[in-house]
Amino acid sequence: MGSSMQTDLEKLKELARQLRLDVLDMTTQAASGHPSSCWSATEIVTALFFGGILRYRSDDPWWPVRDRFILSKGHAAPLLYAALAAAGYFPRDLLWRLRQIDSPVQGHPIQGMLPGVEATTGSLGQGLSLGVGHVLGGRLNGLTYRVYVLLGDGECEAGQTWEAAMAGAHFKCDTLTAIVDYNKYQETGPISREMALEPFVDKWRSFGWHVQEVDGHDIQALIQALRQAQAVRGQPSVLIAHTIKGKGVSFVEADYTWHGRALNPEQAARAREELLR
């Protein structure tokens, strides 16, 4: 690895840290939200938006050949908003209006309400189908963009996710990449206890997908895997990103009872200290 790449990687890690802090501030101020679900996916979103994977123009948000990013796990909306603000889609000031009256910064994303928000999500299990639709639409329009869908692991329990997986392979959507934020927890407990997904890799493979497993907090590994996915032909690809729910804040990590909870100001101060360490 050359020194400039190392510098880049350091920059990306610093960006990821800032996204985590933004999510903390947004949700603590709103006194609600799902920070732990944002923190497990922070490196994934960093790699996509700032690691040279997604092609976009923040000053032309609906640029027809932009790559699409669909946040299927809509409860990670604060992370999406923080990334869009960092990418220059809208001023950072808007972030502090999360969940406030008369604000476009809705608790879960609503299509077109903010520049860069591609899809309405929040009822889980629908994002991958939308992604297939975007691929088919791009094909009909003769455009060569790629479509990225970030899935939660819990929503892989939904039948529709597998309907979409079937359709993605059937239509040979090789411009479609799904990334599963496999943080191993859903709202009420460990996935393995509540509704097991394993053998997870086998499931995707048997549905006709190109599968890679990756450390979902290793930005460099994520970028490498996403690039490899771009080279796949004739089938869609999925990254099973192994992550830690609440990553970055020790007392939130891997504790599912934090799923739909924001940190109070005192807890947030402790979290900030840890994140800045």
Partner: protein
């Protein structure tokens, strides 16, 4: 007696065949229209497009949730998707998908629910869309169109494509007679058509019940009762003006629909009329019941959806009006 015979209406082919023709027509005119099918294209007649424009036709299989969300994705790419299946399967299976990705997102997508009502007949209550209008009513951004004759179906499908935003169009397996001459059929979304003038009572129908109401008006005319008949082809936005005029000028209203009474056309009209100019009303429709497998005519008779039922309801409404004055 054949539907529309008393009113002197000419017979036509089944509405689903008319829909297939209408869909093909809009696909010819507008290259942005794409058609999504839930593996029922030969029943809904959406398959006309599969033959003519295979690249713009997608059979998503027996997976209504996926069908709707893929359609929403295509809409986000600038296409105008016509998402088609049986009304009951599409709305009941994919209610949340339509709510989230179409209604709440307020995108330019069209839902075609075929086999509305009980007149699909022998396949029975599992396939019948008797709650579909109530379900679509639950999405505030949806325009709701219920064509009553072949010409209106063509106009409704074309208008759905022209109208930006979510539109639901109801189709049926059954044949509905010609109510309008093909060259003189007024159609504007949200503007109901008065298809018969009268001052004693107003009969309001949608879909097949418009022809039925015209038959009822013919029965009533023999008794010296002049009924106004309204084709309420749009159930949102409501034509409040035409309803207000009917209430004021005729003083009694009967609604008739091939749908459950709860949450359908009649209950909504009652809400509107009550707010402007309350008059005695009676309601023809399915009263808290599922239907069964049988010949459509037998079903209409057993479940109280005939011209005689409408005429009887009209007499009651008129009697209530007279009692009040």
């Amino acid at each position: 007696m054949r539907l529309g015979e008393r009113a002197g209406l000419k017979p036509a082919k089944p509405m689903r065949d008319v829909f297939g023709d209408a869909l093909l027509e809009v696909c010819r005119k507008n290259p942005k229209v794409v058609v999504l099918d839930g593996d029922l294209g030969n029943s809904t007649k959406a398959e006309t497009v599969r033959q003519a424009f295979p690249e713009r036709f997608f059979n998503i299989g027996i997976a209504e949730s996926n069908l709707v969300s893929i359609g929403a994705g295509l809409a986000a790419c600038g296409f105008i998707p016509f998402i088609t299946s049986f009304s009951s399967f599409l709305l009941c299976n994919a209610y949340d998908q339509i709510r989230l990705c179409i209604a709440l997102s307020n995108i330019n997508a069209k839902i075609l629910g075929s086999h509305g009502g009980i007149t699909l007949g022998k396949d029975g209550p599992t396939q019948m869309g008797i709650e579909d209008l109530a379900l679509v009513g639950g999405w505030p951004t949806f325009t709701i169109l219920v064509p009553s004759d072949p010409t209106i179906m063509h106009k409704a499908v074309a208008a759905a494509v022209e109208h930006p935003g979510p539109v639901f169009v109801r189709s049926s397996r059954v044949a509905m007679p010609y109510i309008y001459p093909p060259d003189a059929c007024p159609f504007e979304i949200g503007k109901a058509n008065v298809v018969r003038q009268g001052h004693d009572v107003t009969l309001i129908g949608c879909g097949i019940m418009v022809a039925m109401a015209l038959d009822a008006a013919a029965i009533l005319a023999e008794e010296g009762i002049q009924a106004r008949v309204i084709d309420m082809h749009t159930l949102r936005p409501w034509d409040v003006e035409t309803l207000a005029a009917a209430a004021r000028e005729t003083g009694a209203i009967v609604t008739a629909e091939e749908h459950l009474l709860q949450g359908g056309m009649g209950s909504n009209i009652a809400r509107i009329v009550a707010g402007i100019h309350p008059v005695p009303m009676r309601f023809v429709g399915l009263n808290d019941t599922y239907a069964e497998s049988a010949d459509p005519e037998d079903l209409l008779r057993k479940y109280g959806l005939t011209a005689e039922n409408i005429a009887a309801a009209a007499r009651q409404a008129i009697a209530a009006k007279v009692a009040r004055t």
